[in-house]
């Protein structure tokens, strides 16, 4: 533990710390551009210069200087101040003075630091350099004259994203950052926009939209995948203008996937903004009372056994809880939250959450991925797996698709046969699992959304018990933000109830007469033509097209709601803007429907609902915390077909109704995906 003084303040820092970190520990702010705590140290911007004794009689780059015993660091001595001024003057030599038209203005490191550490005038009267702008894809806008060559973007794509496509070409005054006119083919590419300390890399969809000080900032959580990444929703005049990641070390560190960041323009398109009722074969605008009465009348007139309900991927816990209350009141048992038909066993919570937490993969030394491609299912977590591989040499084995995960993974096989081999120990990777101290087995939805899903789950449990000590080495990676919460709330078939496939097949054959879809869009609408379909949701997507009554609802940025992520962590989303037109918050719609049915639910406010929900499922009240789940028996041992596992995400940019309505996502598909994997009507 080196002990040193910073401006006379004595600090003790962990071995291996840098002088910059010691200064931060002493509460001293050190200006920097190239240094970033999650990237390797470059030491090329020289902004963090400080005076250090003992040492050569010149300022030193604190980000690259190891902290040592008895060092004396001066962060505001005349030498330091003069050095910073000089560095800033050099940086500004070739930086254009275009702040008034720069999107970074107001949140620019260079602007802020020039104000605090720079001089008030420039002595430079020569020609400034100009650099041609580069193409980096549909999301990143470049104005390369502004670049100060910190190389954060280069290091990010190389180290964190694992897609080394950006580099620094040329030398000295001719150095340029470029991706050689290729789109940055990473699901995390948007993060370089946040990392860029100047306005060289900015958001293309957000270009010239707003100034940061005009925006209302709402801290919320993301629902585009099941990670529950912490986000900040920036809105102005009832419009979401951008979504940025927030720091949450346990979940997303400070990164965010491109879909979560850029699909928000889909919130403005294809919205359901008023109730509709199908009359004479056509959906016609209706009033709320009319729509609710129509639904209530139909529900009352139908035998409970012929009513089914399916919950979609972005439904919040409150609405699921309320809807289950209504269905229970009617005696309906056919309900499901597993649109994809994943054979998840709802009876054992440890069997459907990521028990180690998302951060747990950093402690693991062997990882077996079964039927999942985390790169497209949870890109930020994939970066964490990569980090674990980089730092601890995590050994990854994959059963399923042989995809490029951005880190070396041993491809074991495509399907159940390999799973069996690992389970009975005849496969080579079984020895890796055996030799590992903290192995982790992760099952994806691709392994479960199949006829023999329950048997696959049982086989995965066997592997976890055999090699990984059961619960602490088992996890499930979900793709739907609503899934864990709905499973916790028991939105699964009750006694004699039908599951998703049963409801859909029943609807097709006429056995099911009413189907209630709570934002369920990833189903085959062709099977619903015979049934009376109620769609409650926010987008005019597949589900709404099949509907007889549409109840317009709020999207995740428009309501206070609880979501449970794939590790079982309950988190709250908050309303940034109001839902459009006559759309209402989901729980309130269900509450109103219960009133129309003549059996009002016992809560009138969100608080009352949450109290009731917390009584039913206590960990939904413990927002932000991870609850330990009991290990138990789940899955059903049985024969497995030898068809390969396939990731449920065929097209990362089109997995839900919001993304499908987003122009930005459409551009991503056009420019980033090879034509062969382009979206078709059944993708998602």
């Amino acid at each position: 533990m080196p002990k040193l003084t910073v401006d006379g303040i004595e600090v003790e820092v962990p071995p291996g710390s840098t002088v910059l970190q010691a200064c931060e520990a002493a509460g001293k702010e050190i200006p920097r551009f190239c240094y970033h705590q999650r990237l390797s140290i470059a030491g090329n911007c020289r902004m963090c210069l400080v005076e250090v004794k003992p040492g050569p009689p010149k300022p030193q780059a604190s980000c690259a200087l190891p902290a040592a015993d008895n060092q004396e660091v001066f962060t505001d001595s005349p030498m330091t101040v003069k050095a910073r001024k000089g560095v800033m003057e050099m940086l500004l030599i070739n930086h254009p003075l275009d702040c008034p038209i720069c999107d970074q203005g107001g949140e620019c490191d260079l602007q802020d630091q020039a104000l605090h550490y720079g001089a008030d005038t420039s002595r430079y009267a020569e020609v400034k350099r100009a650099v041609q702008d580069k193409y980096m894809g549909p999301l990143i806008k470049t104005i390369m004259t502004r670049c100060i060559h910190c190389t954060r973007c280069v290091r990010f794509v190389d180290e964190v994203a694992g897609v080394p496509t950006i580099g620094a070409l040329g030398r000295s005054g001719d150095m340029e950052i470029t991706s050689l006119e290729q789109a940055v083919a990473s699901e995390l590419s948007g993060n370089v926009i946040d990392l860029c300390p100047v306005g060289a890399l900015t958001s293309k969809p957000y270009a010239f939209n707003a100034r940061p000080w005009e925006l209302t900032k709402t801290e919320s959580v993301d629902v585009h995948d099941a990670m529950g990444s912490a986000i900040r929703v920036d809105s102005r005049s009832g419009e979401v203008l951008r979504v940025l990641p927030r720091l949450n070390e346990d979940v997303n560190e400070e990164w965010l996937g491109d879909k979560s960041r850029f699909a928000m323009d889909g919130l403005k398109r294809q919205r359901l903004d008023r109730p509709y009722v199908r009359k004479e074969g056509k959906l016609q605008a209706a009033s709320w009372p009319e729509a609710l009465q129509t639904v209530a009348a139909k529900l009352k007139a139908t035998d409970a056994a012929k009513i089914g309900a399916i919950v979609g991927d972005m439904a919040d816990c409150e609405s699921v809880f309320a809807l289950k209350g209504v269905l229970d009141g009617l005696g309906v048992t056919s309900m499901d939250c597993r649109q994809d038909g994943a054979a998840i066993d709802p009876s054992c919570r440890a069997g459907y959450i990521l028990n180690t937490g998302l951060a747990g993969v950093e402690d693991a030394d062997a990882l077996l991925l079964i039927g999942t491609n985390p790169r497209v299912e949870a890109p930020v977590w994939n970066a964490r797996i990569r980090k674990s591989w980089l730092e601890n040499g995590l050994k990854v084995g994959v059963i399923g698709e042989n995809a490029d995960l951005t880190y070396p993974a041993t491809y074991l096989g495509a399907g159940p046969q390999t799973l069996n081999e690992v389970a009975n120990g005849s496969h080579d990777f079984a020895k890796v699992l055996e030799g590992a101290e903290r192995p982790l087995i992760v099952v994806g939805q691709g392994a479960l959304s199949r006829v023999d899903g329950a048997a696959v789950l049982a086989a995965a449990r066997v592997i976890a018990e055999k090699y990984a000590g059961g619960r602490d080495g088992f996890g499930m990676l979900h793709t739907a933000a609503a899934r864990v919460g709905a499973l916790d709330l028991g939105f699964v078939p009750g006694e004699d109830g039908r599951d998703t496939a049963g409801i859909l097949d029943g609807a097709a054959s006429g056995e099911m007469e009413v189907v209630f879809l709570l934002g369920a869009d990833e189903i085959d609408p062709a099977k619903l033509t015979n049934a009376f379909v109620v769609y409650q949701g926010h987008h005019g997507d597949r589900g709404a097209h099949a509907a007889d009554v549409i109840l317009p609802a709020a999207a995740y940025t428009e309501k206070d709601a609880t979501y449970v992520n794939t590790e079982g962590r309950a988190q709250r989303a908050y309303r940034a803007i109001f839902p459009p037109g006559e759309a209402r918050e989901d729980w309130a719609i269900v509450r109103a429907l219960s009133g129309a049915l003549g059996a009002p639910l016992p809560f009138d406010t969100l608080e009352a609902l949450r109290t009731a929900m917390g009584e039913a499922v206590p960990y939904l009240d413990a927002v932000g915390a991870l609850a330990e789940a009991e290990w138990g028996d789940f899955g059903t041992a049985g024969d497995m077909a030898d068809t390969p596992f396939a990731s449920p995400v065929r097209n990362y940019y089109h997995t839900n109704a919001i993304a499908r309505a987003s122009e930005t996502m459409a551009r991503c598909i056009e420019e980033l995906l090879p034509p062969a994997t382009e979206a078709t009507g059944t993708d998602g």
Binding site: D158, P164, T165, G167, A168, L169, G170, R171, S179
Partner: protein, 204 residues
């Protein structure tokens, strides 16, 4: 120094492979480095690809990156850093003039002018028949013999305007003038003969 530029797609050959002779040299270069450190051979391989093809092509970079398990952009970073790698189809004979301070103080302006007038081209250009290309380069590391004129692998040292013209004339005739100092001087020993240690090897 000329700005880094990659040749247009129209000029880029579709594929690249080392000929058996060059492949043998490539293998020798790679074998010089310990297991897992093969990327260290990147500069040698780029040079070999340039010797084989005349300049470094996109296909060659892709081939070398693949061979050494590197990202293509990392190879391009190396290529773009060194002026010795040519990334556009130039002449068959490449003439390099050093214009860094020591050469410039010793008269590289005259060398530059002689090259430009003799070949009729400027820096970064090549003659119409594709025979010569003229490059401006940074320090060639032979300042003691400044100014330097580098023709392919040979250094012509202590040149001036007339000497440059004579060298280029010989090259135009298809001859290879003798490399080294173009004045009365042995390598970098004093001009006009030794001034010290004159009796070494003598009687006493």
């Amino acid at each position: 120094m000329s700005h880094f530029r990659i040749a247009d797609d129209a000029d880029q050959p579709k594929t690249f492979a080392f000929t058996p002779d060059y492949q043998a040299r490539v293998d020798r270069e790679i074998a010089k480095y310990p297991e897992g450190k093969q990327q260290s051979a990147v500069m040698a391989l780029l040079d070999l690809s340039q010797r084989q093809h005349g300049w470094v092509t996109r296909a060659a970079v892709a081939h070398i990156a693949d061979m050494l398990g590197m990202a293509e952009i990392r190879v391009w970073e190396v290529v773009s850093f060194y002026t010795m790698y040519r990334t556009t189809p130039g002449g068959r004979i490449n003439v390099h003039v050093c214009t860094t301070t020591p050469c410039w103080l010793r008269g590289s302006d005259a060398v530059t002018a002689a090259c430009k007038s003799k070949l009729g081209i400027g820096f970064g250009e090549s003659t119409e028949d594709g025979q010569f290309a003229l490059h401006e380069v940074e320090c060639l590391g032979a300042c003691v013999n400044a100014p330097i004129l580098q023709v392919d692998d040979d250094y012509y040292e202590d040149v001036d305007g007339p000497a440059t013209e004579a060298i280029l004339d010989a090259l135009l005739r298809g001859e290879t003038p003798t490399p080294g100092p173009q004045v009365e001087r042995q390598t970098s020993a004093p001009v006009g003969g030794a001034t010290t240690l004159q009796s070494v090897g003598g009687d006493d």
